[in-house]
């Protein structure tokens, strides 16, 4: 499975309210770098490191082989609306 789809699927299983925007950047060779913007109210009240840890924990196994590198942006739904919507 394509790494972006895999990452998205894994995260949706654990964070049902999540909204994910993805990109993948060529990483050289056969590797792809997955870019994820993860929007969920599960991040409410958590520090940036805690938010990223949540996602890294979900992707841990996949990061051993299928996903070579991941770029993360995490935020709550309210933050997404404030920053990215009119």
């Amino acid at each position: 499975m394509n790494p972006v789809k895999l990452a998205t699927q894994l995260i949706k299983e654990k964070l049902p309210d999540v909204e994910i925007h993805t990109t993948n950047f060529p990483g050289g060779g056969n590797h792809e770098h997955v870019g994820l913007m993860v929007i969920s109210d599960a991040f409410e009240g958590k520090s940036l490191l805690q938010q990223h840890r949540m996602i890294m924990d979900i992707l841990r196994e996949a990061l051993r082989e299928q996903i070579h590198a991941v770029q993360l942006k995490t935020m709550t739904k309210k933050e997404f609306q404030e920053k990215y919507q009119d």
């Binding site: 940036l48 490191l49 990223h52 840890r53 890294m56 992707l59 841990r60 990061l63 051993r64 590198a69 991941v70 770029q71 993360l72 942006k73």
Partner: protein, 99 residues
Amino acid sequence: MKEKIESLIKSNDVFLFMKGDKEQPMCRFSATVVSILNQLETDFETFNVLEDMEMREAVKQYANWPTYPQLYVKGEFVGGCDIIVEMFDKGELESVIKG
């Protein structure tokens, strides 16, 4: 391994586990963090995980973090590239390092 990792982390206020070294980073995420630390004109030490497979795995276990680079400030894990870029943009990284 754990003692080695801990002694490295304590060897300098700002310590970076990375791919490559300061002069020659070997991945663009590591290069980004090095560039940010250079912009802050902060003194820092690095360890090249590409040169030691055992350490490369052990450091991931220790931090409970699956990727590189990994930045420690005053003995505490701060984060990987994405976190560092965001903290730098907000001015938070400078406070954490110099505070």
